[in-house]
Amino acid sequence: MLLSVNNLAVSFGGVQALSLSHFSLQPQELRVIIGPNGAGKSTFLDIICGRTKPDTGEVYFNDRAIMGMTEVSIARLGIGRKFQQPSVFPGLTVYDNLLLAAKMKKDILSSLFFKPSQLLKARIHEVAEKIGLTKVLSSIAGALSHGQKQWLEIGIVVLQDPKLLLIDEPAAGMSDEETYKTGELLLELSNNHGIIVIEHDMKFVQQIARERVTVLERGKLLVEGSFNDIRNDQRVIDCYLGRNNTQLENL
């Protein structure tokens, strides 16, 4: 079991944002989490990567309890996070963005006297190829399009070589074609990494949900199952329909 979570609960100002009794993920599994706005999806990822402290609960990563660790230690253990808003380093070149992310010693002295090895350069080019940014390696990241920034951030997370990738709405603001490419990229990544993806776009979910889909609603687990089960589940339809979500209706 790559990740297992028990009785996780957190509330913000009296509102129960998340109350998850159980969740687990196999190595190399790609899991999609869906749910209406405010269902606690992003909060769940925030807790796993150490950004938010839960009120109660346990999180085990490779059978190691990671609650209470700092973001840096959790990242070092091998959990990478991609945020909803693309979070890259806009003042640096695309190449430098990827270089900083790559797995290596990250203390001050190592950084000061760092010389990139041929192996590392090759690895950066390989990832750049994968995320389709080879042509813009020397441009400033701030000048990229929204979709390219999303890919760059995925590249940053991949270069850390994490065992678990937490990916928050990778297709937000992308064109259909870009969304499709992103899906293919995630599927390819799932051959080597465990991945949790949060997504709203049902067409995209259909594309990448080869295994199980988890539905959250108001911080609680509503149902878990294959994409077809979920699509035909009356409870899921209700919780989306009540909110005028046309994306689900269209399918």
Partner: protein
């Protein structure tokens, strides 16, 4: 290649032309000393550019670190001047024996070490407390400013044993060399220029290493840096200490060339002005910090002799148009102008 020409022009002008002009009798020694002092400011400005321009931490107490260096070297010079007797201001203040913290400053070697160690250590402690509590942005600016104010008040007091409002002055020699001598002044000027070049080179290496890239990454997106497994606090602390160290080095060279150091050099306004040099010159560029410190101070000298009352208005006006129209500062403006002529590639 084109870049190298600017460096060569800078060095040729200040290392050869200006001293040669003095030896020919065209440039007065006061002008030389004035530029020597500007170089000291430029060294401190490099530190501010590292911490503010590159890392995005607005530290408003750099003038305090600058003065720690100045005071250290001034204490040494004063002790050497007064010989076995107590410095004069102590006699007036009815201090009967040399305070314990003055004693190590009798040795030149120890003075050098202390002038570097004390500011770094203080910066380390202050930085550790601030960065550990994850204080950033405007709160960082306010706290460091309050610190600068507190230290200024402390240094103003006669009981602190550092000369109070009048500061330390009337030093005659450094390492046995008379400070009023023209060649000693010229030597100090060249020493300042040399150290400015060394500091620039060191900062250049820092900013072009991966360390420097992490600093810029912290400025752009601190949380992303954390989630990429860098300990942000270590990096911030390191750059805060380096900036304090650069300020102290500038301060050490400043005191002997000016002949006086008072708490006025470390009040809140002084720190704000230092930040403004970098803003006007162009933050996030080392050239900008140096150009800003030199130009603003040069302008200060001109303006205060031509129209003494309006300097603050001029500085304020410059600052406002910089913020409004060319936020990359003077150097950014020059870059834009030269870039337009070049063909795009």
């Amino acid at each position: 290649m084109e870049k190298k020409i600017y460096y060569l022009l800078f060095i040729a002008f200040f290392a050869l032309l200006l001293p040669a002009g003095h030896l020919m009798g065209w440039v007065s020694i006061n002008t030389i000393s004035l530029w020597g002092r500007y170089f000291c400011f430029a060294i401190a400005a490099l530190g501010i550019d590292l911490i503010w321009g590159y890392t995005g931490i607005l530290s408003m107490c750099q003038a305090f670190f600058f003065c720690l260096g100045s005071y250290g070297i001034a204490m040494h010079m004063l002790l050497k001047t007064s010989g076995s007797a107590l410095p004069e201001f102590m006699v007036w203040n009815k201090v009967e024996s040399l305070p314990f913290f003055w004693v190590p400053f009798q040795s030149f070697g120890l003075t050098l070490v202390l002038c570097l160690v004390i500011p770094s250590l203080l910066a380390f402690v202050i930085g550790y407390v601030l960065f550990r509590s994850r204080i950033k942005g405007v709160y960082m600016a306010i706290i460091t400013q309050a610190l600068a104010l507190a230290m200024w008040l402390l240094f103003l007091r006669n009981e602190t044993g550092l000369g109070g409002t009048n500061g330390l002055t009337d030093f005659k020699t450094l390492l046995g060399l008379p400070l009023s001598n023209t060649y000693v002044k010229l030597g100090l000027y060249l020493m300042s220029l040399l150290l400015l070049c060394v500091a620039y080179f060191a900062c250049y290496q820092i900013t072009h290493s991966k360390f420097g890239k992490v600093l810029q990454a912290i400025r752009d997106s601190e949380s992303r840096v954390s989630f990429t497994a860098y300990k942000v606090m270590d990096y911030k602390l390191a750059v805060f200490v380096v900036a304090a160290l650069l300020a102290a080095i500038g301060g050490m060279l400043y005191a002997p060339q000016t002949g006086i150091i008072t708490p006025g050099r470390m009040d809140v306004k002084a720190s704000v002005e230092m930040v403004m040099w970098v803003a006007l010159g162009g933050r996030g560029k080392l050239k900008g910090a140096v150009a800003g410190a030199l130009l603003v101070n040069f302008l200060y000298s001109i303006c205060t002799s031509l129209f003494p009352d309006s300097w603050l208005y001029i500085l304020g006006f410059l600052f406002v148009i910089t913020v409004l129209f060319f936020d990359k500062g003077f150097v950014g403006l020059m870059d834009n102008l030269t870039k337009r002529k070049e063909p795009c590639y």
